[in-house]
């Protein structure tokens, strides 16, 4: 602690340079934090809602579907306690604009709440939903966003499917804090009938008796349909979400690559600033060493300055990302499947860790050079 004042004063000796370095690091950490949060959001749903739920998707492509007949066979697999076919409807609500985008699925109304057991709904609303073919349920936040109330009519215009559902909201479900809402659900029968019963299922959502059953169920289900015309790929909800995103390309890889390039570039900029700082203090370092400061201590002091600057930048960047995430328009969140975007403690810790690494990397070589300054050479520069 006795060196803290020395470190702080040295770190702020060239205020303009320090501020610019801090800003560049904060920009990098802002991006890094956001990117980490985006990556996490792809996989966070299953963590938030329990690992016991699993999804069955058709192998190769999520865009392809499976026969309805799979439902009974999968339901017989030991460990499976509930199964709910679910298809992505898509379509347009009001206008084809981001602010009207939200998830819409047609599902088996009878088993939806068995599989999605974290969805809380009153028994009366649940019964009303299950009884009426044109009924729909929506998450509380979604309903609040559009001002929906029980009994309201919600009209969708089909885009993938040649059907325009006219739905009546019969229930509003809630989810635990931090858990994502699933969107709008309505009856599978309604769409199937309108489409002349093609009998196609996009995904089967499965609930297991215990998380430990997952490996066996995944193996059994995939083995069961391996030789069929529609082989399956059974995966965890986390993997499913990742697959969903991968339809857009290798987004995770891209995000990670961009993040690393940004951090590396900023590290070089910060390293240059630290090198300039160290060069300017060549004589001062020699004087300090003459006074008895050991090379290791000089190294530690200069590294501490660098880490301090990087950490301030990191804190600003993380704070900025947190504020940015909280004010991000919900339409944007929905557009890029970021309902679960959250700057949590893990993301903050990783970002601050990255800041410290930037500080160590950028200050490492200048500090090493300063620690190795020969006193007589450093003092000679003055004369």
């Amino acid at each position: 602690m006795k060196y803290l004042r020395l470190i702080v004063k040295n770190a702020s000796r060239n205020k303009r340079r320090s501020v610019l370095t801090i800003l560049s690091i904060s920009a990098a950490i802002f991006l890094l934090t956001f990117m980490q949060a985006i990556l996490n959001s792809f996989t966070s749903a299953s963590e938030l809602t329990g690992a016991e739920r699993r999804l069955v998707v058709r192998r190769k492509s999520l865009a392809d579907s499976m026969p309805e007949a799979y439902r009974e066979k999968i339901a017989q697999v030991p460990g499976v306690v509930a199964i709910c076919p679910a298809n992505w409807f898509g379509g347009i609500y009001k206008e084809d604009k981001p602010e009207y985008f939200f998830a819409r699925f047609y599902v088996d109304a009878k088993t939806l709440f068995d599989v999605q057991s974290e969805y809380q709904i009153s028994p009366a609303e649940k019964e009303a939903f299950q009884k009426e073919r044109t009924a729909a349920v929506a998450g509380q936040k979604l309903a609040a966003k559009y001002g929906w109330k029980i009994g309201d009519v919600i009209e969708l215009t089909g885009t993938f499917f040649n059907v325009n559902p006219r739905l009546t909201l019969r229930g509003i479900y809630t989810v635990p804090a931090d858990a994502p809402e699933g969107g709008l659900f309505f009856h599978r029968e309604y769409v199937e009938e309108a489409l002349n019963n093609p009998g196609e299922v996009g995904t089967y959502r499965i609930k297991l008796d215990s998380p430990s059953s997952a490996p066996a169920v995944m193996d059994t289900v995939d083995a069961m349909f391996k030789s069929s015309a529609w082989p399956t790929k059974t995966e965890t909800e986390a993997s499913f979400q990742a697959s969903f995103v991968s339809m857009l390309g290798n987004v995770k890889g891209l995000i990670a690559s961009v993040g690393l390039v940004v951090v590396f570039t900023i590290s070089l900029i910060a390293a240059n600033a630290m090198a300039m700082t160290a060069r300017e203090r060549y004589t001062e370092v020699a004087v300090m060493k003459a006074l008895g400061f050991r090379p290791g201590l000089v190294l530690g002091l200069i590294l501490s300055e660098s880490v301090l600057i990087a950490l301030i930048g990191g804190l600003l960047g993380t704070l900025g990302a947190r504020v940015g995430a909280s004010v991000m328009p919900s339409a944007l969140r929905n557009m890029i499947f970021l309902q679960n975007l959250r700057i949590n403690l893990t993301v903050i810790a990783l970002s601050l860790g990255a800041s410290i690494l930037i500080g160590l990397f950028s200050g490492g070589i200048p500090a090493w050079g300063a620690a190795r300054v020969r006193i007589v050479d450093g003092l000679r520069r003055v004369a």
Binding site: Y3, R13, A290, L291, G292, P295, V382
Partner: protein
Amino acid sequence: MAETLISLSKVTKHYRRDAIDIPVLDNIDLDVGPGEFLALMGPSGSGKTTLLNLIAGIDKPNSGRIEIDGRNIAGLNEKQLAKWRARHVGFIFQLYNLIPVLTAFENVELPLLLTSLSKKKRRDHVMTALSVVGLADRDRHYPRQLSGGQEQRVAIARAIVTDPTLLVADEPTGDLDAKSAEEILDLLKRLNDEFRKTIIMVTHDPRAAGHAHSVIHLDKGLLSRTGGVYEVPAAHS
């Protein structure tokens, strides 16, 4: 036989530049008594700063022994030398070499950060050192807010704050006007007389050298002394 604090025996120093050996000091023998005020004079390139650096432990000889208070510092490694310097040597430079972002107080406190003294004790030591140089009221001033003479006095306070055995001064008045230079020399004389500091001072200025007890002339790496080994006055014994 006179008591010696510093004893150099057959000290040789040469630098190597582009495969060429440049001799600086050649078989130097020198004894300096405790409490002595010694001036090192000589033309540019004569090796006086090199000799001062060797005595202060910031450079190493190619051969020979440098004993300070009975310890051969030529045999110490870098870490040991750093510790030894912190304890035994105070440095005064021509251009003061204060840290510009630190106040006078913080500059003087710098060597004490290497000790285990408490904050309060460090404060007491710093204020005592600043009082000795007559700048106790300037403790919160930054170097840029002080005159050259005042900066050098802060540098002297920094040199004495750990109460070292030896003060080494390289052209301490070289960047000062005549009045300030005289004040600094008086201060060094006072440190020598009242506080019994052994002082070795490199200077070009014969008037500055006149404040010393004895003068050593270096020329082409060889040494000649004006005056013998300093005898500690009875009052100091």
